[in-house]
Symmetry: C2
Subunit: 256 residues, 2 copies
């Protein structure tokens, strides 16, 4: 590449999260960085977009660092749409989202704001990667992830990604970040079993907090959950053509 690649950085934990700061630092070593991220946490937002209310998008003054930064009142998917249509004057060469504070492996990809930003970029034809660390703590240690984040980003810039595919990268939580390596995986079959925490508010009305337990129903050793449990970094290629092609012929036999 003659020119420095243009890299769009976003996330779902909000622009002040430590995870996105690590991602910005690494991307500044690779290319020209523009950050457009939510002004507040957007975890669990799935692929939500803002249709019924207004959006604000403000530039943030930041004279000490090379990247341009914007904070947006919308969801992660809104941020990517806003970047491509209003902020950037050319199509980015790469979009990276994260580093998320918490897992987006297995079925979490469906609920993930981090991955929705990567998928939105993919829909708009931009090679994209979502990064997550299996540590919900705001003080999670992202230091040891940097060289892997850089390696994966450079590989995507070099090889490109096929139309309709983005990458979902998850890092296990390890004390000294001694990862065994990077594994290409499929999404493990798993779900959350909900446990609603029912309480009563000060005026006597019942309300709930959504909590749950993650249940892995997949014994395969080729899954992201297996890789993470065995100290590997998982990389799942993710598509947004949701058609269940395998079931198509069967469905055509129905009496519809």
């Amino acid at each position: 590449m003659d020119k420095k690649p243009l890299i769009l950085v976003t996330n779902d934990d909000g622009i002040t999260a430590p995870g996105i700061r690590t991602l910005i630092e690494v991307m500044n070593e690779i290319g020209e960085v523009v950050v457009i991220a939510p002004d507040s946490p957007q975890s669990g937002m799935g692929h939500a977009i803002t249709l019924d209310s207004t959006l604000y998008c403000d530039v943030i003054a930041n004279e000490d660092e090379p990247q341009l930064e914007y904070r947006c009142s919308g969801t992660p998917a809104d941020c990517v749409k806003m970047a491509n249509s209003e902020i950037l004057n050319r199509k980015p060469d790469l979009c990276v989202s994260g580093i998320n504070h918490g897992s987006n492996a297995s079925i979490n990809v469906i609920y993930s704001g981090t991955m929705s930003a990567a998928i939105e970029a993919g829909i708009e034809g931009i090679p994209a990667i979502g990064f997550s660390l299996l540590d919900y703590s705001w003080n999670a240690n992202f230091e040891g992830l940097k060289k892997y984040v850089k390696k994966i980003a450079l590989e995507v810039l070099q090889n490109g990604l096929p139309d309709g595919v983005v990458l979902n990268v998850n890092f296990p939580k390890l004390k000294n970040n001694e990862f065994k390596g990077i594994k290409t995986c499929r999404q493990a079959r798993a779900n959350w079993v909900e446990e609603f925490d029912k309480r009563t508010n000060p005026v006597g009305k019942e309300y709930y907090w959504l909590t749950g337990k993650f249940i892995n129903m997949d014994a395969g050793e080729d899954t992201d959950i297996w890789a993470l449990e065995n100290n590997y970094i998982s990389v799942v290629p993710v598509q947004f053509d949701l058609t269940a092609h395998k079931f198509m012929q069967n469905l055509k036999q129905w009496n519809l």
Copy 2:
């Protein structure tokens, strides 16, 4: 089935929308109906879930009709979780979501609250269908859809659906609802090209409305968009294993 099937009904336009009323009416002919739907419109919510705030869920008194109804302060996916874990005392035989006021064909499936409810049910092992009519009007005419909705629901109850698959059903907007028939299709490759409508608020601050144009990039005659443009009802089998299996071998060749 010896016993009447238990049918969970939800949507994303909110419990007062005409579309869900039609769906309830049809499902009352088939089984025992429980409705748990958002208390306000949730369009474009994708697969959002409520993690950072409380949820309310209230039973609605309704003595004239056979179904039980609850309104919930959360998203469509929250409603399904709440139903299965707090409200229902057995697993539903079917979950239907909609009838949505507006299209969920092609890439819209990604942004759709209607489909997120169906997908959430699918994740929890319940056969599920999302229904949508390509008419955003609150006064859309749902009358002619009833017999098809019933037919498709009965087929799903009879045949079941494979693990990990739900159905996305869209109806074209036709003057006299003279549908040519039902077509099993794949999701068309398409996207939205955003056009942010930039305005200035009364105190001089710029804000945006998200608008856009739907661009179909898929000339195939086996897609949902083709079916709908040719007056067919489209049925797409949808999966939530997002792994891009076809790209897996290729990705394994990378130097990761």
